[in-house]
Symmetry: C2
Subunit: 319 residues, 2 copies
């Protein structure tokens, strides 16, 4: 049975007991997003929100993060509705939830941060509930590499670890990041971060250099230009799904990472072929994400539409 | 027999009588190219040089252009060595050959024009020798749209016409360009030109809008991010070949266009599947082009290496 068929089955079964669980760790936030067309106030944001919702289409998800005293029950419900295990979601009553405000300019190519209020996220340390310590698939969404290392320190048994990072940590916590890279399986970062981390402006050689830093494989995310995989078994390049109804690019990369880890958990395999299939599903999940504010469309799409996107994407790349 | 096998056969036969001839019209020039690593003085340049050499791997090529009193016989030999028909190459003794100097900055993403001397190209009008007037495949490389229209006016019988253009003509000769678009089959332009021509910053909707301007299909060239096809039978997205040895990006898009038209002539078919195959060969030809100054590597590669690139690219995009 081809891998895509297995995934199809699992998506239809949705959160089937067959799939291995995925642990997602990262930020849960309120966002304010301004685009040329609309403004979204206090919408659900944070890398772990997008990643866990995307992963939930494929496998049982365990979410580790923190929210503050202002986080609404209705938002908690959104995770619950997708069957996400929230034992690891800390509620810190000492202050408000992490808040981020950003604005996209005319062509969506430039994003400007207008405001960042760390709030309860400032002193967050991800602590894994006992039963999360054996998690065969991990998505370390973008948080400080010191915190990502702290997660790895709590694990028991073997895990396949996907990690994301950002320019802030490359600039400010490079030593921790380099330690992290030696302990993960797959680094999934965007193009500008790959260049920054390797100092190489050629994305192809930058990608291979990422592997020299430790991870067994690396995926470079290029937004509307797709993604590419650097793997000991070869190189794979995948265009983006052709989105025309772009509403809000926030979280696309996080949804990509979550769906990637989720798919791998679903098929419980991480060979070259499975990673490539995972990238197709990850691309499908990001394409849905950017078609509405926040996680709205990613959540409401359902497994049928996600599967349809996967097949459309497959057609778009078939010569 | 799958299309790629047909092409394989034709490439091996190389300029076989089976393939329909391709007429290439455009500039032939001397370039001076400065890169972060090297400088090339008075090297062979011009859109029609790259396009005709690339096309010559697939089909008999007829070249229409102009050179001046300083054009070297050794350069003429380079076209002859690839079997290119030069009856349409005018030699204008009244002045020197078109000269262009450009510099690429650190990461090859920005190109600056240092000098443009039109010379004999300034008053060039492409006149087709009688026996070129029936040319089933045409590559109108980047020259003024008024001159491109003048070529079409001289044709007899039906032709499949691919055309390129540039920002200069979008700004200065838009009316002629719009007239041209209604008379061609395939527009092959780069991403910034597609945005400029349609006013749409979303490349996908920009691509579909190009078809509303007249051509039956449009290909947007995105350099290291590959290319995409907008066709009434669907959308196709193709990543670039993973080049690490980038030496000089000049002419990559011209080689792409030439190989595209050449392949279509070789298989003498222009359905959706053939266009997609043509894009793979076109991508292979551009990848060779950028690995050396001028047309050097495109010329020296030979059909075997081109075919190898095609197969590598096919593997790189196969999930």
């Amino acid at each position: 049975m081809p891998v895509s068929k297995i995934a199809e089955k699992l998506i239809v079964q949705n959160r089937s007991n067959v799939a291995a669980p995925v642990l997602v760790v990262g930020s849960v936030a309120f966002d304010k997003i301004i685009t040329p067309v609309m403004t979204g106030e206090r919408i659900l944001g944070g890398a772990a929100s997008f990643a866990s919702l995307a992963a939930s289409y494929f496998a049982p998800v365990r979410l580790v993060g923190v929210v503050g005293n202002d986080f609404e029950d209705s938002f908690i419900e959104r995770f619950r509705n997708r069957g996400i295990d929230l034992e690891g979601l800390q509620v810190d009553k000492s202050g408000p939830t992490f808040f981020w405000a950003g604005e996209y300019h005319e062509n969506f190519n430039n994003r400007e941060t207008l405001d960042t209020q760390l709030n309860v996220f400032e002193h967050f340390r991800p602590e894994l509930p006992e039963r999360y310590r054996q998690s065969p698939y991990i998505m370390l969404a973008n948080i400080g590499p010191d915190l990502q290392l702290h997660v790895l320190d709590q694990l028991e048994g073997s895990s396949f670890v996907v990690a994301d990072t950002m320019n802030l940590w490359i600039n400010n916590k490079l030593n921790d990041l380099l330690k992290l890279l030696k302990r993960i399986d797959c680094l999934a970062i965007n193009d500008s971060e790959a260049i920054m981390l390797t100092g190489d402006h050629n994305l192809i050689s930058a990608g291979w250099k990422l592997l020299e830093l430790g991870p067994r494989m690396a995926i470079i995310k290029k937004g509307e230009n797709g993604s590419c995989l650097f793997h000991r078994d070869g190189y794979f390049a995948l265009p983006a799904y052709p989105v025309t109804n772009l509403q809000d690019p926030t979280g696309a990369g996080d949804a990509f990472g979550g769906a990637l880890a989720g798919y791998l958990a679903a098929v419980n395999d991480t060979d070259f072929g499975s990673i490539k299939q995972a990238m197709l599903y990850a691309t499908a999940a990001s394409s849905l994400t950017v078609e509405a504010f926040s996680c709205d469309r990613l959540e409401s799409a359902g497994p049928g539409l996600l599967e349809e996107r996967y097949h459309e994407l497959l057609e778009v790349i078939t010569p």
